[in-house]
Amino acid sequence: MSGFFHYFSSHFESFRGEFWALFFGGIGSGIIYAMVAIGYTMVYGVLRLINFAHSEIFMIGGFSGFFVLKYGIGSSTPSGLSSVFFVILGILAGGIAGSLSAVVLERVAYRPLRKRGAPKIAYLISAIGASYFLINIAAKEFGRIGQSMVQPYTDHAVFTIFGAPIQMYTIIILIVSVLMFLALDRIVSATKLGRGIRAVAQDSETASLMGVNIDKTIAVTFLLGGFLGGVAGFLYAMNFGVLYSMGFTPALKAFTAAVLGGIGNLRGAVLGGLILGIVESLSVSFVNPAYIDVVAFAILILVLMFRPTGILGERLGRDA
C-alpha cells in the first residue's frame, strides 16, 4: 500500500513540474485533432456517414503545402513578413487541395452510391477503398520516405507560461484555428449556405422539398470539411514533415475527438479535440509515453460505453 502511495506521490511530484509544458503540447495536438474532427462531424451531419478517406484529405493538404513551400522558398529560411506570406500560402495550398480532393471524393466515391440508394455498408467500403487508393498512390508518387517541410520561419520558444516554453508553431496554429473555427461557426449558423447544411442534416427530404439543392449542399459540406482537413494537414506537416501514411493516426484520433464531443456537433468536435489532446499529453506523467495512443483510444471506448452520444450530444441540424 505504501508502494502505491509512493508511486502516486512521486508521479505527482513530476506532474507538477511538467504540467504546463504537457498542457500546451496537448493543446497543440488537440487543435489539429479538432480541425480534422470537424470534417468527420460535418459529413456525418449531412450523410450519416463516417468519411474514412478524410485521413487522406489531411495527407493531401500536407503534401500540397509541402510542394508549394519547397518550390516557393527553396533552401533559405524566410523571416519577417515573407514568413507570414509563406505560412498563409501554405495554409491556402493545403486548404484548397484539401477541399478540392474532398469534393472529388464525394463525386467519385459517394454520390454514385447515394444516387443508387446503396446501403450504408457500401459507403463504408467505398470510403475505405478510396482511402487505400489514395495512400498507395501517394506512396508510389511521393515515395515511402518521410520528408521534412521547408520551414517558412525559424521556430523558437517565443515566451514561457509557468515555465513552459511556447513555440512559434503553437502560436501559429492557435491563431489559424481560432480564425477558422469562428469563420466556420458564422458560415454554418448565419448564412443561407449554412442554413441549407443544417436543413439537410435535420431532414434531407423535407429540405429538398423546401428548395434546398441537396447535391450542392453536400458538396459544400465536403468542401468546408476538406478545407479544414487540408489546412490541418499542412500545419501538422510543418512540425512533423510529410509521409504518405501521415494521415492515419491523427485522423483516427480526430474521429475519436468527434465521437467524444458528440458526432454531428461542430462545437463538440472542437471541444473533443482539445480534451483528447490535453488528456493524452498529460497522461505521460503517469504512464509511459508509449501508452499515449492507448489512452486516446481507451477514452473512445469509455465514451462509447457510458455516453454514446458524446459530451455535448449529437445535435444534428440544430444550431451549429
Partner: protein, 405 residues
C-alpha cells in the same frame, strides 16, 4: 533428268546443311553457356523508410561481382535482389524466395537485425550461408546456427563503446535510454543500459515504439510528450536505440522541449534520411551517432571507392556498410573459387551452400575492411576495440568525420 537430279541433290544438300547448321549454332550458344551461372542473393531494404542501407550495400556487392565477372572466372556471377524493406514481417517471404532459386549459392544480408532474426530459420533450413554487412543485434549470433556470418562487430561491442563514450568521455552520470521496441533497438539499448548501470550511472529506460514515420503504428505525438518528461528529469545524456525515421522525430522534440544534454543514437540512425527528415535540421546539431565502421571495418577508399561511386551515385564516405557488402561478396566468390567448378558441377545446391559456410568458417580473408575471420557463432574474431566510429552532427549533411573507439 540429270539437271533435275542435280536440283534434287542441291535441295537435299541445302536441307542437310540447314539441319546440321542448326545444331551447330545451337552447340555454339550452348558452348558459351557451359560457363555455369551462380547467383548471390542480396536481402535488405531496397524500398521503404530505411532503403539507404540497402542501396549502400547492394551496390557494394554488385561492384564486387562486376569486378569478378571481368576477371575471367570459370563461372558467371549474378546478383539477385530481395527487398524486405528492413522488416521482420516481410523478410521470411523474401528468404523463401531466395532459397528457392536453384543456383543461388549464398546471401549477402539481410541488412537489418529484426529481418535477419525472422528470416534465419528459413535460411538455416536450406543451409544457406548468410553474410550480413550490417545486422548487429547480439542475439543473432547466439542461436547455434553455422550459416550466419557478420562483417561488423555486434551491438555488444557498439553498445559498450557508446555507453563508455557517454560515461567516460562525456562524463555523463545519468542517462535516459530509449528504445523503439524493435529487435535491434531494444537489443542495443539493453547493452547501453547494462554497461551504464554497471558503471553506477543513474539509468532510466523508456520504450517509444516505432511510429508512423517508420511505417509502424504508434503516433509521433509520443516524442513531444516524452521529451517534456526528459527535459524535467534533466539526465546528462539521452541514448536512443532505434532507426533514423524516429530519431528524426526525437531530436526536434527534445530541442523544442528545451533539453540541453547530450543526445546519441547508433548505426540504425546513421542514415542520410535522418537529415532530410529532421525538422528543423538545426534540431539535430550537436547530436551524436555511432556505427561499426571504424578501424579495420571502415568504408571503401581509393580506386574502389571511385568505382563504387561511379556505379551507385552514392558518396562512399557516408555510404555506411558499403565496404562490408563489398567484402562479403568477395569472400563468397573466394569460397566458390576454392570449391572449384568440378565440385560445383556435381554438388547439389545444398552441398554447395554448406561447402561455402564451411569454407568461410575455416579461412581468414584479406578484405578492404582488413583481416576477416569468423568465430564459430558467426561473429568476427577479436574484441572489436577501435572499430566503433563516433560521429557528431554539425551541419545539414550526415557527418563523415569519425573518431574510433
Amino acid at each position: 533428268m540429270k539437271n533435275r537430279l542435280n536440283k534434287t541433290v542441291a535441295a537435299l544438300a541445302t536441307g542437310a546443311l540447314l539441319l546440321v547448321a542448326v545444331p551447330v549454332a545451337g552447340f555454339a550458344s550452348a558452348g558459351a553457356a557451359t560457363k555455369p551461372v551462380y547467383v548471390i542473393g542480396y536481402e535488405g531494404p531496397l524500398t521503404g523508410p530505411a532503403n539507404q542501407y540497402g542501396l549502400n550495400e547492394v551496390y557494394g556487392l554488385q561492384l564486387a561481382v562486376n569486378q569478378w565477372n571481368a576477371n575471367n572466372l570459370p563461372f558467371t556471377l549474378e546478383v539477385k535482389q530481395f527487398d524486405d524493406q528492413g522488416s521482420g514481417t516481410l523478410s521470411p517471404a523474401q528468404a523463401a524466395a531466395a532459397v528457392a532459386v536453384p543456383n543461388l549459392v549464398a546471401v549477402v544480408g539481410p541488412a537489418f537485425s529484426g529481418a535477419t532474426h525472422a528470416a534465419q530459420p528459413t535460411y538455416e533450413a536450406a543451409k544457406m550461408p548468410i553474410v550480413t554487412p550490417s545486422a548487429t543485434a547480439v542475439g543473432l549470433a547466439t542461436t547455434g546456427a553455422n550459416n550466419f556470418f557478420r562483417m561488423v562487430y555486434g551491438d555488444d561491442v557498439q553498445g559498450t563503446a557508446d555507453a563508455n563514450f557517454l560515461l567516460k568521455v562525456k562524463k555523463a552520470k545519468s542517462i535516459t535510454v530509449i528504445d523503439d521496441a524493435t529487435f535491434y533497438g531494444a537489443g542495443i539499448a539493453k547493452v547501453v543500459t547494462d554497461v551504464a548501470k554497471a558503471a553506477k550511472a543513474k539509468v532510466v529506460t523508456t520504450t517509444l515504439p516505432q511510429s508512423t514515420s517508420c511505417s509502424a503504428q504508434a503516433s509521433v505525438a509520443q516524442f513531444a510528450a516524452a521529451a517534456t518528461k526528459i527535459k524535467n528529469a534533466k539526465p546528462d545524456a539521452v541514448f536512443y536505440g532505434g532507426y533514423a525515421c524516429d530519431y528524426a522525430n526525437l531530436l526536434p522534440a527534445l530541442s523544442k522541449a528545451g533539453y540541453k544534454g547530450i543526445v546519441m543514437s547508433a548505426d540504425g540512425s546513421y542514415d542520410a534520411a535522418l537529415m532530410t527528415q529532421v525538422n528543423p535540421v538545426s534540431a539535430a546539431k550537436g547530436a551524436w551517432l555511432s556505427a561499426a565502421n571504424c578501424g579495420s571495418t571502415g568504408n571503401l577508399t581509393g580506386a574502389t571507392a571511385a568505382a563504387y561511386e561511379a556505379l551507385s551515385g552514392i558518396a562512399p564516405a557516408s555510404a555506411l556498410y558499403d565496404a562490408q557488402a563489398y567484402d562479403a561478396g568477395n569472400i563468397i566468390v573466394a569460397a566458390l573459387k576454392s570449391i572449384g567448378v568440378t565440385a560445383l558441377g556435381t554438388n547439389t545446391i545444398t552441398q554447395t551452400r554448406s561447402a561455402i559456410s564451411a569454407y568461410l568458417h575455416a579461412n581468414t580473408f584479406d578484405g578492404v575492411t582488413g583481416k576477416i575471420a569468423f568465430q564459430a557463432n558467426g561473429n568476427l574474431v577479436g574484441t572489436g576495440k577501435g572499430n566503433i566510429a563516433i560521429y557528431q552532427i554539425t551541419g545539414k549533411d550526415l557527418p563523415t568525420k569519425k573518431t574510433c573507439y
